[in-house]
């Protein structure tokens, strides 16, 4: 693999790691911390890239593990749920927000948030961030068949949650 600078890695993956972290944690400030921690860990060589696998899978693996650690820690706090930011109030912009109606965007946010975290991560990495199945497998640390199973379940649940909107989304 040709040398790649940290800035290039950041430019390529920062939005994607942020997206994964927001979708998992539903908290923009924590998600920003996940992005910072991910790239500082890369800089400090805590999880060195050996060049024998997908760069995307490696970067997302670091971010995913950090986000899951924060998710687990927050679940141990009894008042955590009441403190979550509604995702509709997010300061961040959706990259392609203009292509769908705001109410559909809000409903999609809610529907993704209703998925269990394991299914949510598979959907976000594969269908939102558009990683390959092999890259998602590397990021989540599970086999490709498990990725496909989680993705199928996530899509099926979202299909039910969004049913009334699907025929009129006009994508």
């Amino acid at each position: 693999m040709p040398p790649i600078s940290l800035t290039e890695v950041f430019d390529r993956f920062a939005d994607g790691v942020y997206t994964l972290a927001v979708r998992l944690l539903r908290d923009h400030h924590l998600a920003e911390d996940v992005v910072a921690d991910t790239f500082l860990a890369i800089l400090r060589g805590r999880a060195p890239y050996r060049g024998d696998g997908s760069l995307a899978g490696w970067v997302y693996r670091i971010g995913y593990r950090r986000a899951i650690a924060l998710l687990r820690r927050r679940r141990e706090l009894p008042t955590a749920d009441a403190e979550l930011l509604p995702l509709a109030d997010r300061p961040a912009e959706a990259v392609h927000a203009e292509v769908i109606r705001p109410e559909l965007a809000d409903r999609l946010d809610a529907a993704i948030g209703e998925l269990p975290p394991t299914l949510r991560a598979a959907f976000v990495l594969r269908d939102v961030n558009e990683l390959s199945t092999a890259e998602v497998s590397a990021a989540l640390g599970i086999g490709e068949s498990a990725v496909k199973m989680r993705l199928a379940r996530a899509r099926a649940r979202l299909r039910v949650s969004l049913k009334e909107y699907l025929r009129e989304s006009h994508l």
């Binding site: 997206t19 959706a94 990259v95 769908i100 999609l108 939102v128 899509r155 969004l162 989304s169």
Partner: protein, 80 residues
């Protein structure tokens, strides 16, 4: 041989992600030609995926981007 509805659902990820083998694709097409319910499932699941791609991705706010890049630069002494 034509697929059953359960078998169609099992190969749905391959159908949507464009990587089924030719025989699977042909059998799925045969099934979909005669099964309205599965055709709707395929269409709606494809729409879910399209919605995720079209809307689900978020942009790291500029202020956070600057702050994180500054932190990275301070650790490297200004290098990249």
């Amino acid at each position: 041989m034509n697929l059953t509805c359960d078998q169609l659902e099992a190969v749905l990820p391959e159908l949507l992600d464009g990587s089924p083998d030719g025989a699977t694709q042909a059998r799925a097409a045969e099934h979909l030609a005669t099964c309205d319910r599965c055709r709707l499932t395929v269409e709606e699941t494809g729409e879910v995926r399209s919605l995720g791609r079209a809307h689900g991705r978020l942009r790291l706010p500029d202020e956070a981007r600057r702050r994180i890049l500054d932190a990275l630069e301070s650790e490297t002494g200004g290098g990249g």
